[in-house]
């Protein structure tokens, strides 16, 4: 469970990126964070990953104040969270298989488990047959699927995806969404920042809308409420 308690982040003492954020995310939720660029989506994600610390307020993860985590323990905390980038961030010199295995190697998984788990996750994202390909031999959608595989391989409790469909066309985006909802269905919390309204409207779930660093809407039912629905 993630909780933001009156969180404010001010950059360089002048620019307020997010303001008085109060937010509670239960385990197993699927959440969209929407808003124009500059609305504070990235700041929210960075705060959650503890890349940055809030100027005010408290963020808790499973009731632990994440800004009280010691630096040495930070790596451990980040293992609870799988992160998916807009630009995939695959390592170009490694194959699909190796890119996914990389995440397990980084936390020192035994080789036996790596050999068992990587093919399972690759088939979950539908890339079992492309294990030996290099990232530049894949389409954008496929690359993002590799990135998703890499994010879930260590079985994190939470997946954070920052504009995961930002570089993809609608059809490909739907494939990505299908995988993300499947991951969520298996019990993982998914937090997805996006400004793709069409996607949001297609996958009804909780939507948090940010504007100028503030939450202007938090709708359990989802959808794009500011645009009157036509049906």
């Amino acid at each position: 469970m993630i909780e933001f308690n009156n969180v404010t982040k001010i950059y360089k003492k002048t620019f307020t990126a997010v303001r008085n954020i109060n937010l509670k995310i239960d385990s197993g939720e699927f959440i969209f964070i929407v808003g124009k660029s500059g609305a504070g989506k990235s700041t929210l994600i960075k705060l959650l990953l503890r890349e940055i610390s809030p100027t005010q307020g408290i963020i808790t993860y499973n009731n632990q104040d994440i800004n009280k985590i010691r630096k040495r323990r930070l790596a451990e905390y980040r293992r609870h969270i799988g992160f998916i980038f807009q630009d995939y961030r695959l390592l170009p010199k490694l194959t699909v298989y190796e890119n996914v295995a990389f995440a397990m190697e980084m936390i020192c998984c035994p080789a036996k488990i790596i050999r068992r788990e990587v093919p399972l996750v690759l088939s979950m994202v539908g890339l079992a047959d492309k294990a030996k390909y290099y990232p530049d031999e894949l389409s954008g959608g496929e690359q993002q699927r590799v990135a998703i595989a890499r994010a879930v391989i260590n079985k994190p409790e939470t997946i954070i995806a920052d504009e995961p469909t930002g570089n993809l066309d609608f059809e490909t985006s739907k494939e990505i969404m299908k995988i993300l909802t499947e991951i969520n269905r298996r019990g993982t919390t998914v937090i997805m920042a996006t400004h793709d309204r069409e996607i949001v409207s297609q996958y009804p779930s909780r939507v948090i809308e940010l504007k100028n660093g503030m939450i202007i809407r938090d709708i359990k039912a989802g959808g794009n409420e500011d645009e009157p629905k036509e049906d």
């Binding site: 040495r72 790596a75 905390y77 980040r78 293992r79 990389f102 995440a103 936390i107 890499r150 260590n154």
Partner: protein, 301 residues
């Protein structure tokens, strides 16, 4: 630490060293250069100190050369008079024959060179032992007034200036070494910087995935240490060969002159163990510092 992790760290370190080998060579070269200069200065200081030390023991006394042709009675008379001088502890007489024998003994194998001497060139000598070094000048002045005294030699001054020279070389040397060390650290940190930048994506990813700090930093620190160590090994080799060569050269050229002084030079074998330890420590130190400087600058964890 788990062996898999160590394996990974070393693999990464070697990989990036190879990928970045030109900068690596520059780093190794700079470490080697610093250490060679350090070695040179160390050996110089050691030798000057050693010479001063040996000389001090040998020459903590005044030699009074007696003119040839002075009668033995008069010589004995002089000895008695010397003993009366204030500041003199004791006096020993050394005949010219004894002095020649001693030289022959010192020269060892080369003593045959002395066989053809028609006349013993060495003087009869009184060795005057002082009660206190501070009285040396006083005593010397008085000794010089005696009739039949050819020359009064006292080496303490020379010894003292040698010690001063050694101190001076030490100070200048320390200054040079510190500057050079900083330059080396800078060059290594630059090399590591390139590696860090090359691998920035990977590092970021590692941090997001939750790799521990040691895991992220390990390869860079190992790379720095390897560069420093290789540099120090090259320096050790060059110093060893170079110093050996210089000693051989001096010995070959000035054998007769130096053989009596062989105790004055510090042999390679006597210093090499210390040098290896000093060099490897400094080499590794430069490497670690270089890596840390870079990591601090370019890794925001």
């Amino acid at each position: 630490m788990n062996p898999k992790r160590i394996n990974y760290i070393f693999k990464q370190a070697f990989k990036s060293m190879w990928r970045n080998r030109m900068m690596g060579l520059a780093s190794i070269g700079s470490v080697t250069a610093v250490l060679i200069i350090l070695g040179f200065i160390l050996i110089l200081v050691l030798n000057i100190n050693n010479i001063a030390l040996v000389a001090r023991e040998t020459f903590d006394q005044i030699a009074v050369y007696i003119m040839d042709g002075v009668e033995e009675e008069q010589i004995e008379e002089m000895g008695r008079a010397f003993r009366q001088i204030d500041g003199v502890m004791g006096v020993a007489y050394q005949t010219k024959e004894y002095a020649l024998e001693k030289v022959k003994r010192d020269w060892g194998e080369d003593a045959f060179l002395l066989q053809d001497l028609r006349k013993n060139p060495l003087p009869n000598t009184y060795i005057v032992q002082l009660t206190d070094v501070s009285k040396a000048n006083e005593v010397i002045k008085q000794l010089e007034t005696f009739e039949g005294v050819e020359k009064v030699r006292y080496y303490q001054d020379a010894v003292n200036s040698l010690i001063k020279i050694a101190d001076f070389v030490k100070k200048i040397g320390t200054g040079i070494i510190i500057i050079l060390l900083l330059i080396s650290i800078f060059i290594i940190s630059n090399t590591i910087k390139i590696t860090v930048l090359n691998r920035q994506r990977e590092i970021e990813l590692m941090q997001y995935i939750g790799a521990t700090n040691g895991f992220v930093r390990g390869p860079f620190i190992v790379e720095g240490i390897m560069l420093g160590l290789i540099g120090s090994l090259v320096a050790i080799l060059i110093i060893m060969l170079g110093y050996n060569y210089i000693i051989d050269y001096l010995a070959g050229r000035y054998l007769a002159l130096l053989s009596g002084m062989s105790g004055y030079l510090v042999g390679v074998k006597m210093v090499i163990n210390d040098l290896i330890i000093i060099f490897m420590t400094i080499g590794m130190g430069i490497g670690i510092l270089g890596s840390l400087v870079s990591l601090k600058k370019f890794l925001s964890v």
